[in-house]
C-alpha cells in the first residue's frame, strides 16, 4: 500500500472533532473540525412559514443554507452566494430532509445554516455531517443520521476522504457521498471525473465504509451529550 500525501492509510479519515450545542441562540448546533475543514451548523424549527404559500401541507420544508466564509478558501470568495452555493444547498437540504421525520410537522419550516469557516476539500460532506448532528441536537425526530464522506482516487490509488492537495493531483477523482444511516441509503452522490465502471463501484463501496466510521463518530458525540436518549435513539 503506497503512502498518501499526508501519510494516511487509503481508508483512513482525517482527524474529526465534534462539539454539540455550541451556539446559544440556536435550538441545535454543531461545531465540526474535519482535518483543516472547520464548519458550524445550526438548526432551528419547526416554525411558521412566511410567505405562507411556500408552506407544504404534507411536511416541514427544510431550508438548508450552505455558505462559505470569504476567508475559507485560498483566494477571497465574494460574500454573495453563487450558483455552487445554491446548488449544494438544494441537494444537501434534500439529503437532510430524508433523515428528519418532516411529515410530523406539516406547514412548517426547519431552518438549517451551515457556515464553512475553513475549507480543505470535502466541505459539503462535512457540512451535512454537522447539520445532521445539529438536527439531532435540536431534538428533531429522525429516522437516522446523515453520515457523509468523500471517496475517490488520487495518485493512482482509491482513497477515502481526499484533501485539497490530493484533489489537485493529476488523476484525482472526488465522489461526495451521503448515506442515511444505519439504513445505508444514498441521499447525496456527486462526482465529476473519468472512472472505469468497476472503480466507480469500488469508490462507492469505500464511501460506505467511510460513512460507517462517520456514523460511529456521530453516535459517540451524541452519546456524550445525551447519554440516555442517545442509547435509545440511535
Amino acid at each position: 500500500m503506497t503512502t498518501r500525501l499526508d501519510n494516511r492509510k487509503v481508508d483512513e479519515l482525517r482527524k474529526i472533532k465534534i462539539e454539540l450545542g455550541v451556539s446559544k441562540n440556536a435550538e441545535g448546533s454543531c461545531y465540526l473540525e474535519w482535518g483543516k475543514n472547520i464548519v458550524i451548523a445550526t438548526v432551528n424549527g419547526p416554525k411558521p412559514v412566511f410567505p405562507r404559500h411556500l408552506a407544504d401541507p404534507q411536511k416541514a420544508v427544510v431550508d438548508y443554507k450552505y455558505r462559505m466564509a470569504c476567508f475559507s478558501v485560498s483566494e477571497r470568495k465574494s460574500p454573495v452566494p453563487g450558483k455552487r452555493d445554491k446548488e449544494i444547498s438544494l441537494v444537501s437540504g434534500n439529503a437532510l430532509e430524508s433523515a428528519i421525520m418532516v411529515e410530523q410537522f406539516p406547514n412548517t419550516l426547519i431552518d438549517v445554516n451551515v457556515l464553512i469557516l475553513s475549507a480543505d476539500a470535502g466541505t459539503r460532506v462535512a457540512a451535512l455531517t454537522a447539520a445532521s448532528l445539529a438536527a439531532a441536537d435540536a431534538g428533531l425526530p429522525m429516522r437516522g443520521m446523515i453520515s457523509a464522506v468523500a471517496a475517490g482516487r488520487a495518485n493512482e490509488q482509491l482513497v477515502l476522504d481526499l484533501t485539497k492537495d490530493e484533489e489537485d493531483t493529476a488523476d484525482a477523482v472526488d465522489m461526495a457521498c451521503a448515506f442515511l444511516m444505519p439504513q445505508k441509503e444514498i441521499v447525496l452522490l456527486q462526482m465529476d471525473g473519468f472512472v472505469k465502471k468497476e472503480d466507480c463501484s469500488k469508490i462507492l463501496e469505500n464511501a460506505l465504509i467511510g460513512a460507517e466510521k462517520i456514523y460511529d463518530i456521530q453516535k459517540k458525540a451524541l452519546l456524550e451529550k445525551y447519554p440516555l436518549e442517545g442509547e435509545i435513539q440511535l
Binding site: N94, A95, L189, F194, C200
Partner: protein, 265 residues
C-alpha cells in the same frame, strides 16, 4: 383547473401505470421516447441543434467570443453553458428569474459536457496569456415534458459537434459568420452522454415525462463514455438510492451509450 391540480393528476396517472408495470405511452421503464435531432437550424448562431425527445424540445445555439484567459490557464479557451427554462416551455414555469431547479439542471448538463476532456480547450487559445476563444452554449427549452437535463446535454453536444471555428481578422477579432473549415476541437472518442433516471415508487425510469418526474422522489444523472463513468449527480427531492441501484443504473446507461451516440454523430 389550476396547473398544480393538473400536475397532481398527471403524477397520479403516472403512478397508476407504474403500479401496473407500465408507462402511459407504452414504453418500457428503461426506454427513451423517440429522439429527433436537427442541426444548424438557426442562421444567426455559429452552431445550433434542435433536439426533440418525445414532447420535450430544446434548442441549443453557439456563439464565439474573444476573452482574456484565466490566470491559472493562460493557454486555454473556455466554455460558458446556459440553460433557460422559461414560461415559453411550460405554463407551469413562473415568470421571473431562473428557478433554482433550472439552474441545477443546467449545471448538471454543463458538467457532463465538460467531463472526459471532451473539448480541447488548448486549441481555443488565440494569443497565449492574452486572447482565447470562449464558446457560449445557450440552450432554450421550447417545450418541457420531462428529461430536460439529457435533452439539453444532447442539444448542446449536437450543436458543438456541428460547429465550425470562426475566422479571425488581423487583430484577432472574430469576423462574424465567417468560418474556417475546421470543426470545434473535440475528442469524439470521449463523447460524454447524459442519462437521467427518476425513481417512482421504487421503480427506476429512464427518460421520464413531466408527470413521471412529478411523481418521483429521487433523480439520478450519470455522465457516461462507453464503459467509463464521467459524472454522477443525485438530485430531486428526498428519495434515496441503494448502492445496488446506482450500479444498475450505471450498467443500463453504459449499455445504451452506443445507441444514443449514433443519433448524435
Amino acid at each position: 383547473m389550476s396547473n398544480d391540480t393538473l400536475k397532481i393528476i398527471n403524477a397520479e396517472k403516472a403512478k397508476t401505470y407504474i403500479a401496473q408495470k407500465k408507462r402511459e405511452d407504452g414504453r418500457d421503464f428503461l426506454d427513451h421516447r423517440p429522439i429527433d435531432v436537427k442541426v444548424n437550424v438557426i442562421n444567426s448562431a455559429d452552431g445550433s441543434a434542435w433536439v426533440k425527445i418525445g414532447n420535450t424540445e430544446i434548442i441549443a445555439g453557439i456563439k464565439f467570443g474573444i476573452s482574456t484567459p484565466y490566470p491559472d490557464s493562460p493557454n486555454q479557451g473556455s466554455m460558458v453553458f446556459n440553460l433557460e427554462v422559461t414560461n415559453i416551455a411550460s405554463p407551469d414555469v413562473e415568470t421571473g428569474p431562473p428557478s433554482i431547479e433550472a439552474m441545477e439542471f443546467g449545471r448538471i448538463a454543463d458538467r457532463v459536457i465538460r467531463s472526459a476532456e471532451f473539448m480541447d480547450f488548448d486549441k481555443l487559445c488565440v494569443v497565449p496569456g492574452e486572447k482565447v476563444l470562449t464558446v457560449f452554449v445557450d440552450c432554450y427549452a421550447i417545450n418541457a415534458d420531462g428529461n430536460l437535463i439529457d435533452a439539453a446535454q444532447f442539444a448542446a453536444l449536437s450543436a458543438i459537434l456541428n460547429c465550425k471555428m470562426p475566422k479571425l481578422d488581423e487583430n484577432n477579432n472574430i469576423i462574424y459568420k465567417e468560418y474556417t473549415d475546421q470543426l470545434l476541437p473535440v475528442n469524439k472518442k470521449n463523447l460524454p452522454l447524459s442519462f437521467t433516471f427518476y425513481k417512482v415508487d421504487g421503480q427506476l425510469l429512464l427518460d421520464a415525462t413531466d408527470g413521471e418526474e412529478y411523481a418521483a422522489n429521487a433523480r439520478f444523472t450519470l455522465g457516461i463514455c462507453n464503459d467509463v463513468v464521467v459524472a454522477y449527480h443525485k438530485g430531486g427531492d428526498s428519495g434515496t438510492f441503494t448502492i445496488d441501484e446506482i450500479n444498475t443504473m450505471m450498467d443500463i446507461a453504459s449499455s445504451k451509450y452506443n445507441e444514443i451516440k449514433k443519433k448524435l454523430l
